[in-house]
């Protein structure tokens, strides 16, 4: 299939398999980790904010109690 005669040929890349696959592995790891972190950031911040609002509300309440 394609340019290569066999799957072994494809992995071997005419003796340059190490360089080619190392490059693709590094790019894959970098792009996927960046993507996952970005995707989680909105979710993580929603969680962070819900805690922040709860604490802010609690602070307001205790302050109101102190004043009275």
């Amino acid at each position: 299939m394609g340019y290569f005669d066999s799957f072994n040929d494809f992995i071997h890349m005419g003796g340059h398999g190490f360089y080619v696959w190392l490059c693709y592995a590094i790019v894959f790891i970098g792009m996927v980790s960046q993507f996952v972190l970005a995707k989680l950031s909105a979710k993580k911040n929603i969680k962070l904010l819900s805690q922040y609002y709860r604490r802010a509300a609690a602070r307001k309440k205790s302050q109101a109690n102190n004043d009275s």
Binding site: Y3, Y19, A42, N45, L49, S50
Partner: protein
């Protein structure tokens, strides 16, 4: 006529639109990425001089291209934020930094690994490689400077100025292969000339470049949404969104 510009400046509007278009852009990105990989790794021929190491090109050139494009976007957004004091522009500028830094690191790493079998060395201190390394330091400096301030407004301003000053490095990277003697080859793609490459190699390269651009937009939109929530935490729509998401 300027309505869209002001709408774009509204974090709420941007958040809603980004959320709507991201899934569609993601599907397009995955398909193009898959097509580019299959064409580049399996169907394109080996180079008559370089052999199969030429396949590194399909990720090296897009990564290097993105590293420069993202920097320009980051600097222009920073400038808009400085001049018009637009909140969204600073959010875009700040969200660009880590993606751009990653692409710069990937361009340098894949270039070094490609250099070993073709040039016989991982690294030379020539103009192209050195100016690209400086680009990485500019990105890292931008991120470090921005995180050094407690006050977000001051951080936005300072890092936008740094980004603008660093823009001078972009034409240096681009023309380095013409201005100085270097091991690095000249531009492969040019808008004005006919490509010097066979179509069997040109197609996977062009597809990968578009796929990397889409990847950038999708990742940027995810980052921007996270950043908007944090910065707009006093806005009633964010409070409502957070309250609704808990149920």
């Amino acid at each position: 006529m300027w309505n869209w510009f002001f709408q774009l400046a509204s974090p709420k509007w941007f958040y809603t639109i980004a959320r709507k278009v991201t899934p569609w852009l993601s599907v397009l990105m995955y398909s193009l990425m898959l097509a580019g990989l299959v064409l580049g790794l399996i169907f394109s021929p080996a180079d008559y001089q370089q052999g199969n190491t030429v396949r590194i090109m399909y990720i090296h050139i897009p990564a290097a291209y993105m590293s420069m494009m993202i920097y320009v976007i980051m600097a222009v957004a920073g400038a808009i934020g400085l001049v018009w004091r637009m909140k969204m522009a600073h959010i875009v500028s700040v969200s660009c930094a880590s993606i751009g830094a990653m692409f710069t690191a990937l361009a340098l790493l894949t270039g070094a690994i490609w250099g070993k079998p073709t040039w016989g060395t991982y690294w030379v201190w020539d103009a192209r490689l050195t100016s690209e390394l400086i680009l990485l330091f500019l990105y890292l400096g931008f991120m470090a400077l921005h995180s050094a301030y407690d006050d977000k407004k001051a951080a936005d301003k300072a890092s936008a100025v740094l980004a603008l000053v660093g823009v001078v490095n972009i034409p240096i990277i681009h023309f380095s292969v013409e201005w100085w003697n270097t091991l690095h080859q000249g531009a492969t793609l040019s808008k004005l000339e006919k490509p010097s490459m066979d179509t069997s190699m040109l197609w996977p390269l062009l597809i990968m470049i578009v796929a990397f651009k889409l990847y950038f937009v999708v990742t940027l939109f995810h980052k921007i949404r996270g950043e908007i929530l944090l910065r707009e935490k006093q806005a009633s729509w964010v409070k409502k969104l957070v309250a609704d998401s808990k149920q």
